[in-house]
Amino acid sequence: MIATGFAVTTLLLSVALGKSARRNKIKDSPYECGMLPIGESQPRFSVKFYLVAMLFVIFDIEVVFMYPWALTFRDFLARDQAAMVFWSMSGFVGILLVAYLYALKKGALSWES
């Protein structure tokens, strides 16, 4: 009873109170007091943007990976495992370097071609 009553009441109230405002073209535009939007809502970007963005994300994440490494480096130093930790990060950076060279040489970073 209460539940049904509540539902009916809210529905009726929303009809009674929720009068929609006046509509016109200005009101319907995305930014009522801004610039008028021009063109399509989903313009085409050059695929180069994606390439750059992807490369950015990859290298960014890999740099993030180095922070915890740098933070724990002292602990490993204390435990006399510095060589292992150092070389593993070197390997990581080495692979990164090859990947970077690859991207560079293949022209992924040159905007013109």
Partner: protein
């Protein structure tokens, strides 16, 4: 020499090849594949001779194990990658046709490099005994395959295969991660050895463990193509380039199986969920056997046929699983040995078939069964090699495929004698009999069909390296089909 240097060597080799592709001149660039083949050969030699005896069980940081299985599957990964490179070299003309005639733009150099990186992932998988390591290495492999499958960018089929593989692969990854999360939630550990201790305890709630188990099976089942996670297999196998298909069906499956064995083992060892887990496995096995074998009958495209046959083979392999954890009662090689032996044999015969098919593909531009017609006259040697491969897949005696099936049936029948699940044996017998039909269809195409007029009787061109590989594989299929001991000894 420490075992994980092997993976480092492989990665270094891959990077080296990539640098060659970048900086070397046109002439030395042609040798990238040769460098890869030679490098992998050297690393395989290192695995055989330089790394410590696999009798010991070495552990590093709790996430990397090196035992006999690890060594065995690393060997499989190396050999299959090596042969795939040989195949890719042979396949280059078709490949250029669908990308670009220009050597540099065709990306063929990268096509040689990627399998090397995938190989490092496969080798790492063989050593992973920790759910996180398993996940990371599995992803390394899958990422490589995402690219490889879609590599022929001007071929619609290849692109379609790429998209399918990507989407379904991502889905299965989701299952796997979710399963790992549940497992960790229940047991509080990622390490499989600790996991088996925890699961063996009495106070483990069986429902969430079963749930985690099912999710893990779904995740890894995708890699080894068992029903109902096989949907991607036919399309991807058909669409991908021939060497990639071979690589998928052999290396990805082998590595998937070692992981599968390692993950399933602690669950089957746990008394509280052993029984439902086995029933789940039996259900999957039966479905895989039925689906793979029946669907293969109607195929006209060879790659698609081999795709379904690869599903069927996964079904045969799964037969041995219920014997896991019931150790000491099996006469003959245990389930792990039988599966490993079968996978090694499967590698030999499948790669043999694909090598021949690659040659035929390059020469005739066809992948349907009709492309093989008259091969018996055009090139008796290739036809014979294909005959050997197919006979072995069908499980004709005195080939390695027969011993593989034999060991698996041996286990399945002994299982059935204990637990009464004869349905598996029954379906496997039916499946193997069906196999005769669809494998013999290939033989029929080669020898019965196709009247080649006199002028056409010319041998197909086969590269020297590919020829050598084919001969070696034929010899190996026969050799291990008569003397299985050397190969089986590695897995015992």
């Amino acid at each position: 020499m420490l075992p994980y240097y092997l993976e480092i060597c492989v990665v270094v080799l891959g990077s080296l090849m990539l640098c060659m592709e970048l900086f070397a001149g046109r002439r030395s660039r042609a040798k990238i594949a040769m460098v890869g083949v030679a490098g992998l050969g050297v690393i395989f030699a290192l695995l055989m001779f330089a790394v410590c005896s696999p009798g010991e069980d070495l552990q590093y940081w709790g996430i990397y194990h090196f035992d006999k299985w690890a060594a065995f599957y690393k060997g499989l990964a190396l050999i299959s990658t090596l042969l795939v490179l040989v195949m890719a070299r042979e396949f280059a003309p078709v490949f250029k046709h669908y990308t670009s005639q220009d050597e540099e733009k065709s990306g063929i150099g990268e096509f040689y490099c990627l399998p090397i990186f995938v190989c490092s992932g496969l080798m790492w998988m063989a050593s992973a005994k920790d759910l996180v390591t398993i996940f990371v290495s599995l992803e390394l492999v899958t990422m490589g395959f995402y690219v490889l499958v879609a590599f022929m960018r001007r071929n619609v089929g290849s692109l379609e295969a790429g998209v399918k593989y990507l989407i379904l692969g991502a889905l299965s990854t989701g299952f796997l991660v979710y399963g790992i999360a549940w497992t960790f939630g229940v047991s509080g550990t990622f390490n499989l050895e600790e996991l088996s201790v925890v699961l063996a305890g009495d106070d483990i709630p069986s429902a969430p463990v079963m749930f985690a188990f099912a999710l893990l099976i779904a995740g890894i089942g995708f890699k080894i193509a068992v029903v109902p996670f096989q949907i991607w297999v036919p399309d991807v196998y058909q669409g991908a380039a021939m060497p990639v298909t071979a690589y998928l069906s052999v290396a990805s499956k082998a590595a998937g199986f070692i992981v599968f064995l390692r993950v399933v083992d602690p669950f089957l060892a746990a008394p509280s969920i052993r029984e439902p887990a086995i029933y789940l496995m039996v259900f999957v096995t039966c479905a895989t056997l039925i689906y793979g074998n029946l669907a293969a009958i109607a195929q006209k495209n060879i790659k698609r046929l081999l795709a379904y046959s690869s599903i069927a083979h996964a079904g045969f392999l799964l037969m041995a699983l219920p014997a896991l954890g019931a150790a000491g009662t099996i006469a003959g090689p245990g389930p792990e040995s039988a599966i490993s032996f079968y996978l090694a044999g499967y590698l030999l015969m499948t790669l043999l078939c694909f090598l021949v098919l690659t040659v035929v593909r390059v020469a005739t531009n066809g992948e349907d069964l009709t492309a093989l017609e008259g091969l018996g006259k055009r090139s008796p040697f290739l036809a014979f090699a294909m005959l050997v491969g197919v006979a072995s897949l069908a499980g004709i005696p005195l080939t390695v495929g027969f011993f593989g099936k034999f060991f698996l049936f041996n286990i399945a029948i002994q299982n059935a004698m204990q637990n009464g699940l004869w349905i598996v044996v029954f379906l496997a017998v039916l499946g193997a009999a069906t196999g005769f039909y669809y494998y013999f269809k290939i033989i029929r195409a080669m020898y019965w069909e196709g009247s080649v007029s006199e002028g056409e009787v010319t041998g197909l061109k086969v590269g020297r390296l590919a020829m050598l590989a084919i001969i070696l594989l034929v010899v190996a299929v026969f050799f291990f089909g008569i003397f299985p001991a050397p190969l089986l000894g590695l897995t015992l």
